[in-house]
Point group: C2
Chain length 338, copies 2
């Protein structure tokens, strides 16, 4: 699911990614070089399509988490570089395939790859990147890390299919919604964080802690993203809102507003999201209903809950700059306003 963290937003209410960016800077340069060399192919279309997306301004939060948790675990080898690049390739492959699935026109403010090179290229270059991701993992040689990341690949695909099956069902429960975002978003965050201490051969409880940190951070991240798609909790209607509404996506703000509304409101949600009959003013109406029922505020509140779990998951680790940087990431993700 295409999510670009607004890294420019240093005035967020709390939290920042400055510290994690600074602490992973040297490693990240190596990851970027690896990404560049591993999208190379004699088939010219492959680097063209891959770099269109990879160089389009996503800030690589997921691979950064792999680097950060590897540092947190005092990893001394090189394997985390390739694993971080693998994580980014898995993410990029998912974005390419999602664009085809969602029939998206735009991605990160640029035309989606499928609009430039066609659905065919998006599907196949996604497959290529997945293959390269696995090749890099194999080169690292940790069977545990391979197990974690290959399991993540199936769970992500399962989450996407579950989302497809749940599509346009306004009666989706919060639990069903959570199961979808655990799969499609949070699992990759969890895997990205787990492989750091796994590579460093740290005790199982530290591996589980990092996994839990990533999982809950990922859930919080997606919840905030879903709220922001309706303008967030302070409800300023910006220009980038309403994509989920137009696509009929059932996200938590909808789940809450639908359940808390009366029959007339539910008819509105069914018409717009299930039947896709969207008229002038419907988006404003939707935001109004969400505001009435505090659906956006409570979506952010739910995100805070998962953010708190993420922070507690790190409690086993001694205090230090990287631990503080990771806590800052949680604050940043929960408090971001765009």
């Amino acid at each position: 699911m295409g999510v670009v963290v607004a890294f420019e937003d240093k005035s967020a209410a709390g939290g920042s990614i400055d510290a994690i960016v600074a602490l992973t800077k040297a490693d990240m340069a190596r990851v970027n070089a690896t990404i560049l060399s591993r999208t190379g192919s004699e088939v010219a279309m492959i680097p063209e399509v891959a770099n269109h997306l990879i160089s389009s301004g996503g800030k690589r939060l997921r691979p950064m988490l792999t680097l950060a948790t590897a540092q947190l675990a005092n990893h001394r080898g090189d394997g985390h570089i390739k694993l971080a690049a693998s994580v980014e390739f898995m993410h990029t492959a998912t974005l390419l395939h999602d664009d085809v699935v969602d029939e998206s026109d735009m991605r990160r403010g640029k035309p989606a790859a499928r609009m430039v090179w066609g659905n065919e290229a998006s599907v196949l270059v996604g497959d290529f990147l997945l293959g390269q991701a696995f090749k890099m993992m194999v080169e690292v040689g940790s069977l545990r890390a391979l197990d974690i990341l290959s399991s993540a690949a199936t769970v992500i695909a399962e989450g996407e299919v579950a989302q497809l099956a749940a599509a346009k069902n306004t009666a989706t429960t919060e639990d069903e919604y959570l199961a979808v975002i655990r799969g499609k978003t949070a699992e990759l965050f969890a895997a990205a964080c787990e492989v750091g201490p796994v590579l460093a051969d740290r005790p199982r409880e530290e591996q589980a802690s990092c996994r839990s940190f990533g999982m809950n951070l990922g859930i919080a991240f997606q919840l905030v993203d879903d709220a922001l798609d309706y303008g967030g909790s302070d409800v300023k209607l910006g220009k980038n809102i309403g994509d989920d509404f137009r696509e009929g996506k059932i996200t938590l703000p909808v789940v809450l507003a639908f359940r808390r509304g009366g029959e007339a409101e539910r008819a509105f949600w069914r018409r717009t999201l299930e039947e896709g009959e969207i008229q002038e003013g419907d988006l404003e109406q939707a935001v109004g209903l969400m505001r009435r029922h505090r659906a956006l505020e409570d979506t952010i509140e739910r995100a805070r809950h998962y953010g708190a779990m993420a922070k507690d998951a790190l409690a086993l680790f001694p205090d230090g700059p990287m631990k503080r940087a990771l806590v800052d990431v949680v604050e940043f993700c929960v408090n971001r306003t765009h």
Copy 2:
């Protein structure tokens, strides 16, 4: 690329797969059980889509080759079962994605999955199967086998993208065409055959021999397939011919007929395949031109060449039932008439 071996065809001019089927029967039952259990998911759409294709009568030549080469190499463990299932999942994922790429309506005589569940499900269930394939490989735990199969995944995707880039170019050379089919078809045959002796920890030369056997068998297989799509060398126009022509695919029969023809004929190929302007009678015209230039016969002749290489690749192995069965498979693939 969707190719169903016509296993019913026991009257083929030479060769048969009866021996390999008999010799791998017990293992194949375990592979089938693994395939069935590994398409399971709580997300109901996944087994539905996967089994639509998996149970639709492909005869699983690729996993059978993994089982056969493992036996040839006297492998004593269990790993070949999961690797064979992985190979079939990789193949099935490719078919699901190809249907989306080619906008195919039919596959193995049934509506393509994308026609029943949509492009979205075909893309995502393909991703799920790829993920499961990697998970099973990881469970087997052989880093060499993982390396071979994950490399194959990227090479296959590269071959598909190369085919896309070469699409509708009637001036494609035979070498360019060969590079495409090595990637999109032969690489998986090669990997499927290589992992058998790799698991059995046989010397490198035996691994390389099996790889070479699979690679050349795969090339021969695809060449015959491409000839059969125009009715094969005995040119009886059946009902299943002309798919490649209608899709504007540049296969070896076209490459040869285009190069051997005069300017008027080249104009015909450009109009029909590059511009996609196909009129009544054009397919018959295409077959007529191929016949005039012996393009189909020579495509089969080329297949015989690669078939001969495949057989010689096995020469290092002592004579025995499995070696003879594998030679029979080559004969069968080269001589099949539908």
